[in-house]
Amino acid sequence: MFVFIIRRILQTIPVFLGVTIIVFSLMHLIPGDPAQIMAGESAPAEQVENIRERLGLNDPYPVQYWNYLSNVLQGDLGNSIRSGRDVTTEIGHRFWITVELAFYSIVLSVFLGLIAGIVSAVKQYSFRDVTLMLIALFGLSMPNFWLGLMLIQWFAIGLDVPSWIPFIDNTAWFKPSGWGSFQQIVLPVITLGTGGAAIIARMTRSSMLEVIDQDYIRTARAKGAKERVVIYRHALKNALIPVVTVVGLQFGGLLGGAVLTETVFAINGMGKLVIDAIQARDFPLVQGTVLVASLLFVLVNLIVDITYRYLNKRIDFN
């Protein structure tokens, strides 16, 4: 297992290099001259040339990449055009806000998804199963920006509840924007977590149904194991194998989804940062954010693979 983890970590190195090449090339793929864009439309040619020289844009392509890579490895992602500050500083705490948002959301997704999936599978075709899967289908089909807006409408601005219904008043329960307090966290996490919960629920259900029919489940029952043990010990561990993969992919989706959710809830996370950076044509900042997000995704996949190996003893990544 230890050897496996080391080997798997080493395997991320080429992925990392690939990511830097793509991110670096972004700057050159964008139409127009970066130096011209930085200097502004009406800037004199001299100034543009100056910037070009300063950024090393006159150097051959591989040299530029090498400079970029060595800077990145030293933790230097360049300076923001708009604010002039370090990109690392710009990303700074916003990175943690997005990680927090994604983490809470994935926890919510996994928690709801697993419970719904298991309950559905154990009582296949029951009323509970059908209801849960309908809800899951609904959750899956709902665009999360719309869900976010609806949640704000209902729970942050105020419920339009007739006054004669007791216990529910029209006071806003949660806050529609910002990040930090519990009241601010709840709605965005629900918004971002719902889609994932639905996918995980459906995946868990089908995976559980497949596993429950396996011979070793019958063996466990024939051994006299309690039904609870049969489901949670024998079936679930096997059923989780495909679910873990989905959770990993889901996390990638969450990073993308965070862009929308952060915009809807005005959260100052990385998603909002990248949107603002794109609008301002702040290339170093876009580059830096995309690089950090990609690395986060690589890291999550690393964790998924290790979990996968732990669950499925037959896996050998050789």
Binding site: T219, H234, N312
Partner: protein, 344 residues
């Protein structure tokens, strides 16, 4: 028959067992009124082709029938008590403890995510409340007993690291961990190589004597029956058509189906020219069984009489046959002969 006084020389008495599968509009009677006894310490074989209901009979004993299947009627008397009257919890305590089962597919019958030791040890934890260390020690003993070399090393391996024969030995170790009174072996050797088959059967026989167990052996292989069983029940389309001791079954088979099966075995003694005899026709569709004798459409001796279902007839030697030929009403041919007889 159901009211007959219980005989405690029998560890298991199955009476008029009925297990059906329900689809949207039809009931498929997989096991239809099966009755037989398993004498203590003996081995009873159930023989039949695929779909004859032999596996469903064995799963019914442990009440492991999954939806849409259901035990519809009958009694399963184990050590004097009807298992069908037990609560689920009582039944759970019997499984793996007093009655154990091994299955056909050793490749898929072990959980791929747990070690051999964890899977054997679980039985001890469930039924004897042993802790991890005690369970591990006993599991190693069990692996030794079933003849697995270097059990201290094997115990921490996962099923995929073992061969089919080894896995079946592990299955036997799990089944016998808590010293059951009855072992149900559902085609334990079908998925194994012939040489491994012999080893596994030998092992079951040896452990049966050592641990004083009774064995119910489900198989479609008459050779296995001849080697291991004391008594044999032949099943066809959910019904027992013949029940007798193993010697009589081979020397004096009565039911035309049994006769057909034995005739179709290749023989070592004689030079057979041409093809082996076969039983003509096909097993009827379980949703559309003949109303009379289930075997009648394929039976070379069938008459009008066979359009009604015959009862199991017991002769003086406790040889039971479900066939009109052995009743007084019979008026057709009586020349039910084995292959050997026909050639002499």
């Amino acid at each position: 028959m159901a009211n007959e006084s219980q005989n405690f020389d029998n560890i298991l008495e199955i009476k008029e067992l009925q297990t059906s599968f329900f689809t949207e509009d039809v009931e498929i009677k997989a096991v239809d009124g099966v009755t037989f006894d398993l004498p203590k310490g003996k081995t009873v074989g159930i023989v039949g082709e695929s779909g004859s209901g032999k596996s469903i009979t064995s799963l019914s004993i442990l009440r492991l029938i999954d939806r849409p299947g259901k035990i519809v009627g009958g009694e399963i008397i184990f050590k004097g008590e009807n298992l069908l009257d037990k609560s689920n919890e009582e039944m759970r305590k019997i499984r793996g403890n007093q009655i154990s089962m091994i299955f056909q597919e050793p490749m898929t019958s072990l959980n791929p995510t747990y070690t051999i030791g964890q899977q054997i040890g679980e039985a001890y934890k469930i039924h004897e409340g042993l802790n991890k260390a005690e369970a591990r020690k006993k599991s190693i003993d069990m692996l030794k007993l079933v003849g697995i070399p270097s059990p201290e090393k094997r115990i921490d391996q996962y099923p995929h690291e073992l061969s089919g024969g080894m896995r079946q030995r592990v299955m036997i170790a799990i089944a016998l961990a808590c010293n059951p009174d009855l072992l149900i072996a559902d085609e334990p050797t079908t998925a194994l190589d012939v040489t491994i088959q012999a080893q596994i059967l030998e092992l079951i026989k040896e452990l049966q004597e050592k641990l004083d167990m009774s064995v119910l052996l489900i198989t479609h292989d008459l050779g296995v029956v001849a080697e291991t069983c004391d008594y044999v029940a032949v099943m066809y389309c959910g019904k027992i058509v013949e029940y007798t001791d193993v010697k009589t079954l081979f020397s004096n088979p009565q039911h035309p189906y049994t006769v057909g099966l034995i005739n179709s075995l290749p023989s070592h003694e004689e030079d057979i020219e041409g093809d082996l005899p076969i039983i003509k026709g096909m097993v009827p569709n379980p949703t559309n069984l003949p109303s009379g004798c289930r075997f009648a459409p394929r039976c070379p001796y069938a008459t009008e009489l066979c359009n009604t279902l015959p009862e199991l007839v017991t002769d003086d030697n406790n040889h039971q046959t479900r066939c009109w030929i052995y009743t007084d009403e019979w008026n057709g041919s009586t020349e039910v002969k084995t292959y050997a007889e026909r050639n002499s």
